[in-house]
Amino acid sequence: MAKEGLFKIGGLENVQINIGKIVSEEDEWEPMGPVPCPEVEDMRHWYMKLLDRYPPFYAPYCDMCCLCTFGKCDLTGNKKGACGLDMRGQQARFVLIACCMGASAHCGHGRHMLHSLIDMFGADVPVDLGTQINVEAPIMRTVIGVKPKVLGDFAKAFDYVEEQIAQMMDATHTGQEGSYLDYEAKAYHVGMLDSLAKEASDMIQMIAFKYPMGADVPLVDIGVGCVDTDKPIILVIGHNVIPSVAIIDYLDEHDMRDLVEVAGICCTAIDNTRYDFKAKVVGAIGRQLRFVRSGVADVIVVDEQCIRADIVEQAQRVQAPLIATNNKALYGLPERSGDPAEEIIEDLASGKMAAVAILDPEKVAEVVPKLAMIMKNKRKNIRTLPSDAEQKEYAARCYDCGNCVLACPQGLPIDRAMQELAAGNPEPMSILFDKCVGCGRCEQVCKWEIPIVDVMQKTALKQVKSEKFKMRVGRGPVLDTEIRNVGAPLVLGTIPGVIAVVGCGNYPDGTEDVYKIAREFALRKYIVVATGCGAMDMALYRNEEGETIYEEFPGGFEAGGVVNIGSCVSNAHIHGAAIKVASIFARRNLRGNMDEIADYILNRVGAAGVAWGAMSQKAASIGTGVEVWGVPVVVGPHGAKYRHAHIGRKDDLTKWDVYNMRDGSKVRCEPAPEHLILGAETVEEAIPLLARLCMRPVDNPSGRQIKLTHYMDLSMKYLGAYHDDWPIFVRSETDLPLARKEEYLKVLEKDYGWKIDWDSKKILEGPLRKQDPQFDPTNLERLLKGAE
C-alpha cells in the first residue's frame, strides 16, 4: 500500500510533487485483527487445529508419482519416492495441486472479468448493494481487511490471491514440503484464497451488471423443453458471462431480443438469468454433450470452464459454428477479433471455417446474433439424432461386447439396454438417460462405432422435450436483514441448520439425488442454499403438486427456504452468510480476524455442505474453502477420488476439548461436527449424516432437541436404525426428541448404562457433559481472557 516516488498529477501536468508515502484513504471501520492478508504461516495454527481434530485419511488414487524425472516412483505401502516423499505426502501434494488449479480458475476468471469490467465501466463503479446489505464483502473484509468501495478495489483481493497461489504452487514443487500435514495446511490456505477469489468475482459482476438481490427474484425457465426451437438458438456454455451479456445487450439494442433464444449451460446460464430474465437455462454440465448433440443450437458460444474439451468437434458434428471467447479455452483456433464481423460471419456461415476465437466481447456480439439468424435458416434440415431406421440399425449392430460398460464412469448397463433396444424395448435405455452424466466415454470404446449418447437420447426424447421447469434466479448474497432474523435461531439451533447444495454433476445415481436432499431438508425447515450445477439440477423435478422445488419453497434465507444463491462463484456468499452471523448477530470484528471467525462458525453455525456430484478441481478448492471456515462437507462416492477425507474420531474424545472463553477452562465436548470432509455412497446415507453434521456445541436445549430429532428421524427413515453415536449428543433429557423421550431414556438406560430418575424423567448419569448456557466455546488460545 506504500508507494514512493515522483508523481504527475492529472490536470497539473507540469507540477511534480515528491511524495514520501501515500496512504490510501481507508476509514477505520474496525480495528485490524492479527491476521490480515495472511501468509500461510500466519494461519497455520488454525489449519493445524483442524487437522489435529480431523486428521487426513488417504485413499490413494494412484500408487505412483509421476511428477518428476526421478519417477515414476512406486509409493505403494507408504514407501518413499526418490525425492524422499512418502505416499501420504504425495496424496496431500496432489490435493494441494488440485486446490491450486481450482482456486486459480476462480481467481483467473475474476481477474479477467475485472479487466473487462473496468474497460467497460471504469474502476469507479460504486459497491452499492442497496439498503439491506452493509457488510458488502464479508470474506474480503475478514481476510484482507479491506472494505471495497468501488469496482477497482477488488484488484486488491486478486493481487493477494495471485501472490499466495504462486507461493502455494511453489510448495508443490519436488523438494519442497515434506509433511502431509503441511501440504494439507497449504490446501486449507488455498481453500481460503478460493473463497476470497469467488467473492470478489461474483461481486464485481453483481455491481457492474446490477444483478438482482433478495428473496423476491423471479423464476426463470430451465430445461431443454423451454428452448423455443422456432427461433434461432444461441447456446452459451461456461462461466464467464461477459460475452453473453454483450450478446444480450446487442439483441436488446437491435430490437432482436424476442427473435432469438439465448440458452445456457453451466454457470454462464445462471448468470445470464441474473442479467436477463428471458435467458433460458438448458441445464448443468451433464446436459452439455447431449444438448449439443441434439443439434438444436444454431451457434455455440463458449467462454471458460466446464466446457467439453472436444466442443469444437462436437459442434462441427452438428454443423453449428462455434465461437471461443476466452483465452483459457482457445482450442487452437485463429483469433479473429481484428477482422470485420461480416468476414467472420461469412467464413462461418459458408462453412469455410467451423469455429473461430473472438476474444473481444463487442465483436462477439456483432457476429453471433446475425450468424444465428443465418444459421437457423441453413440448418433447418439438419437432423442430428438417429432416424428410426438408424436407431434400429445401431442397436442391431451392438455386439454385446460390454466395452462401453467398462468405459462408463457410472458402469451403466448400456450393453443390456442396447440388447433390449434391439429387441424392440427402448425403456431400459431411456431409464439410463437420467443416470448418465453425459461424458461420452462409452462411444470412445465402441468398436462398432455406435453413437451411444445419441441412441440413448433418442430413447428419452419425449421426456427430454417435456423438460420445462422453473428455477429461481441466482440472488447473490444473503441480506443483512435476513441474517438479523435467523442469526439467533441458527446459533441456538432452533433453525436446525443450513444445508448448502453445491458443486458439479458427477452424481452416482442421477440428478434426482440433489432434489431429494434439498427437499428433505427444506420440508424440515432447514435453510437450503444452492449454487451451480446443484441449483440447476434440483430444479428438474416436481412434487406431487407439480411444483418445482423453487415453486414449492420460498426463496429467502429463512427456515424452509430454498435459496438459489447463484453460479459457482456465488458460493462465496454461503460463507459470507456464516461470517455475517458472526459479524451482525454476534458483533465479532471481521477485519484481519479470519481464525476467530472460522472458529466462531465451527462452534456455532450449524451448517453443512453437500457437493454430491463434486467433479472438478474447483470443487476440491471450494470444498476445502468451506471446511477451512468451519463448515463440514459431504461429497458423493466419486469424491473419494479426491484422495483424502478429514475424519474426526469419536473414539478419541481428547480431540474434542474446547475452551470456554468465559473462564479459560477446557470442556470435553461431543464431536460436533464430527467430520470436516467425507464421502457417502448414497443419498440415503448422506441425509442423516448431514443432519448429524449440523449439530454444534452451543446448541441450546431446544435447538439440540430439534437437531437430534431430525437426525434420528432421518436415520430411521433412510437407514432403518439409529447410529450408535446419538447418545453422545445428549447432554440432558431436555436435548431428547420430545415425542419419543421415554423410549429414548429407556434405551439410554438399557443399552448405554445411563442412570435415569424415572420419577422426574431426568438423566442422572451418562452424558459427556452438561449443557451450559454460559458456554462460550473457542479453539483459540488467543481469545481466552487473560491471553495477550
Binding site: A59, C62, L75, A721
Partner: protein, 173 residues
C-alpha cells in the same frame, strides 16, 4: 493379457490384486483371525443381502455402510451387523489403535461385497497402502476385478455365475 479393472482407468500401480477363485478366497477368510464383511449400497441388488446374511450367520461380523442397514432390519437379521459410514470405517482399518466394533481389536481380513465399484476401490486402496504393519488385507468378492484388493474375482457379467461364486465362498466358511 492383463486383467482389466471394471473401470479400466483404475490401474493403481505395480501392486494389483491377485485373481483368485472363490475357494481360495473362502479359505483365506476362514483362516482369518478377525475377518469382517463390509457391505454397501449394491448389497440391495441381486439378492446379495441374503448372501451377506449367510456370511453373518457363519460368524463373520458385518459392517453395514451406505443405507444397507435398512435391509438387514427388514430382513430381521441384525445380530452382528454394525451400521457405520464407510469413510470413518476405512480410516479405522488403517489404524492400529482402533478396537473394532466389539472392542476386541482391529480386523485382519476385510471382505467387500455389494459396494459401488469406485467407492470401494478407493477404500481398498487405503487399506493396501496404509494397513501394512501389521498387514490387513482387503479382499473383494464383488463381481468386479478390484486391483486395490489383495485378492479379487475377475469382472463377471453373468449375475447367476457371480452369485454361485459367492455361494462357493460361503461354502468354505
Amino acid at each position: 493379457m492383463n486383467t482389466i479393472p471394471f473401470d479400466p482407468g483404475c490401474v493403481p500401480g505395480p501392486e494389483m490384486a491377485r485373481l483368485a477363485d472363490p475357494r481360495t478366497i473362502g479359505i483365506a477368510i476362514k483362516r482369518a483371525k478377525r475377518p469382517i464383511l463390509v457391505v454397501g449400497a449394491e448389497i440391495l441388488k441381486d439378492d446379495l443381502i441374503d448372501k451377506a446374511i449367510e456370511i453373518g450367520k457363519k460368524g463373520t461380523p458385518i459392517a453395514a455402510t451406505a443405507h444397507s442397514m435398512k435391509t438387514f432390519v427388514e430382513k430381521g437379521y441384525t445380530d452382528n451387523v454394525f451400521m457405520c459410514n464407510m469413510h470413518p470405517l476405512a480410516n479405522n482399518f488403517t489404524r492400529n489403535d482402533w478396537m473394532g466394533f466389539d472392542g476386541k481389536g482391529n480386523y485382519d481380513v476385510i471382505v467387500f461385497l455389494g459396494v459401488t465399484y469406485y467407492w470401494s476401490s478407493q477404500m481398498m486402496s487405503a487399506v493396501k497402502n496404509f494397513a501394512t504393519n501389521p498387514l490387513r488385507m482387503a479382499v473383494s468378492i464383488d463381481r468386479y476385478y478390484h486391483p486395490n484388493a489383495k485378492m479379487s474375482f475377475e469382472n463377471i457379467r453373468d449375475t447367476e455365475q457371480f452369485k454361485s461364486m459367492v455361494d462357493e465362498v460361503i461354502a468354505q466358511l
